[in-house]
Symmetry: C2
Subunit: 515 residues, 2 copies
Amino acid sequence: MCLCAAIMMAYGVAGAQPSPQAVRDQVRQYRQQHEVEIVRAYAQLLSIPNVASDTANIRANADFISTALEKRGFKTRLLSAGAGSPVVYGELPSPGARHTILWYAHYDGQPVDKSQWALDPWLPVLRDGLTTDPGKTIALDSLHAPLNPEWRIYARAASDDKAPIQALFTALDALNAVKLPIGVNLKVFFEGEEEAGSRHLEAIMRQNTDLLKGDLWLLSDGPVHQSRRMQLYFGARGETDVEMTVYGPARPLHDGHYGNWAPNPAALLVDLLASMRDGESHILIPGYYDDVRPLSPSERQAIAQIPDVDTQLKQELGLAWTESKGQPVAMAITQPALNIRGLEAGHVESKAQNAISTEAKASLDLRLVPDQKPDKVQALVEEFIRRQGFYIVHQTPDLETRRAHAKIIKLNWGSGYAAARTSMDDPAVLPVITAIEQTLGTPLVKMPMLGGSVPMYLFPDLLKTPVVGLPIVNHDNNQHAANENLRLQNLWDGIEIFAGILTGTEKNWNVTAKK
Amino acid sequence: MCLCAAIMMAYGVAGAQPSPQAVRDQVRQYRQQHEVEIVRAYAQLLSIPNVASDTANIRANADFISTALEKRGFKTRLLSAGAGSPVVYGELPSPGARHTILWYAHYDGQPVDKSQWALDPWLPVLRDGLTTDPGKTIALDSLHAPLNPEWRIYARAASDDKAPIQALFTALDALNAVKLPIGVNLKVFFEGEEEAGSRHLEAIMRQNTDLLKGDLWLLSDGPVHQSRRMQLYFGARGETDVEMTVYGPARPLHDGHYGNWAPNPAALLVDLLASMRDGESHILIPGYYDDVRPLSPSERQAIAQIPDVDTQLKQELGLAWTESKGQPVAMAITQPALNIRGLEAGHVESKAQNAISTEAKASLDLRLVPDQKPDKVQALVEEFIRRQGFYIVHQTPDLETRRAHAKIIKLNWGSGYAAARTSMDDPAVLPVITAIEQTLGTPLVKMPMLGGSVPMYLFPDLLKTPVVGLPIVNHDNNQHAANENLRLQNLWDGIEIFAGILTGTEKNWNVTAKK
């Protein structure tokens, strides 16, 4: 195939398949004709309680989803490792396709505090209001299309993270109805304990590396850009954390009688913390930035094109400045962060006592970026603390130890994991970007990485497969809180984009591969 | 009177009065003959509950003490200002005396938590054990002299601070019994709400400046030196304190999504605090030490002669070092201290959350020394904080203020007061030192100042009269806690020393005045 023919095919000019825009229009038409049916089907999925610890209902979810996949031609299996919730795995091969997309979502949801919910979290309803004022309820049995696309479905997991599962089902239904074949092999991997810390995810992946072979993982989780524009994210920061305790006198001392004689652990702690970072978030620990992978030109360009959110955020948050030297948040989070998430020593305000406390504590959360490794970062931090004159222990020191060492600090490290960032120029990724942008008719927001930590590193590091994040839900969805919801337009958009990926990626891939 | 005659008189060689040692021996003999009677009399005083808020019992205490003073020849008055407990004031002139000693003690005690007491705090008993193991009770009605001087009287206020009141009564009784006249005019001033913050002390003093004229105040409160040696203290640190709040984003933010973009108030706070003092308690605020009065040669010498307590303290407290550059505690506390008494931001350990908190708080207690003034210190601290780039507010800032200023700190100052330090070479003080040392036959421990803050400044600043602290009670008396007690030997010593002061001071004064 010559390059020009490939381009013609890619844009749908030649061949039997309609153009991406035509696919989108057909899928949209299908959706418009089935809006009420889609919402009712989704309500069924949402009505099954899905807290990871609720074993029986988790199984009911897995069975419901397996059945739904099988109806759509998938071969399914439940993947388990130990006592955790099973992963619902399904395969839908596409005759003649040479590439495989692996699709991740999770069907479990955050635990709920029902007292905080306007209605039952597992009795899904449509409401005509926003998250802060859910508005009036619209009964599901009296719906008439067209539905107002600003209406929202309220239920636990409506956005996080059953929405991509429903969008995928509907995209497949639409393509089937309009007789458009999906052009790529498809594997789905729906986790059942993401909100419980993905305790068995790594083990399940390790046990199924052959099954999970493919060209690209799509991680459908999280919200679209705050500007409501669709986005892909290419990575996420890693994380490690440490609890610190600095020791003073073995019993609290009167700070009048002993102040400026007895070592004050709060003063030692603030000195140490202040020495670790400057006033603008730069970390002062030698070697800390040595392994930081520089941003590529594509990544820098993508950041420059991300819609401005800083202005609005600063307004909302009452901030006259940021500690990022004027860089936008999307750029700031591509760098390591040393966050002080807690300080505790003695007492303040009405509880303040004239005392030198026996210990002072800090909790640090270290966000890592590629290619920092948690164990190396931990070693650098410990070496730095030692050079500040501290004697490091990992257990509470006894009196003899305290008598023997001037400045003692206890460090308790949490487990950590590495960051990940897939290249925007990766040949496995470009076809998906193209498929989505052709479907949308507008450029995507391309976010080099999320600031928060999700274990995206498992895909490249363990499964040796690139991964990109493809969220579809509204950013104002009350994720993890009461009154979680999904804006209908986000579901509609998700269906079209997923259909575009299913139909467009394989041919784009072949173009890219041939170039 | 020639100098040699004055010296002869001072040492009791010439004139009608016996030597200080002879006075001591006569007083001791009286006490030995009356031990049981003294303990029973003291138990009567201790059996009247004396928490400052218990108005009826406070009045019963005041009446009991007034009656006891009148029996001993005093003219008495109750001094009040507003609704607080009255001061019991009494005068006992000495014919021919040219000098007046004013004697301060307080008759109220700390509130009690009866559940923590081995016995009723207002049913005084003798016990044969130490504070940690009170031992067995010895019934007051079956006592036989001689009493074991290591036995202790257990009751609220047994040490703090009815002990000097009883010691003074008994000293006067002994001198009366052995027909030794007190050689000095005596005024007593027994406060009734010291443990409730001395809320009316300044007002009562202001209203009675003429009544309270005299040459020297003896402040009988607090314990003797930890070595059990008698001590005088010549001053106390002053104090001011401040509650600080540094502001971050108006709502808590995920520290992954926003860490190293959103200002972290805990990081701002530790930077500020670290900039205020170095690792060895030296305060880095410009001008902070400008008003610090240097120690006199007498004060330096006195500190050098104070028995070592640091070694034992460090052992007890599990400390391998002090932040005083190797100086003993008695020297360290003659300097200003900037104590961090509390830190609070976010959460630590099991409650740690991946969040940038909205605010971070610190509580500072600033111990002042002569001649620092609280208002000037507060201004220096504020100026320093401003130079660190902070915008200072004294009320919680609204969103508009937060949007307008990058680094905002709220400061809430507590009321403060100045330090005091009477010169050891003050001619009003030397006669008392001499009288005590002659009585003891050994040198006193002379403590230039206490590290803790008591409003000693009122005596020199408001009443224009020097003051020294003259404690008599044991240091291990469980002051302010359950099972407060007084070691009998400390009461016996107090009686002798007080008698020595009453009989010896006037003639020493005249010697000093003539020199």
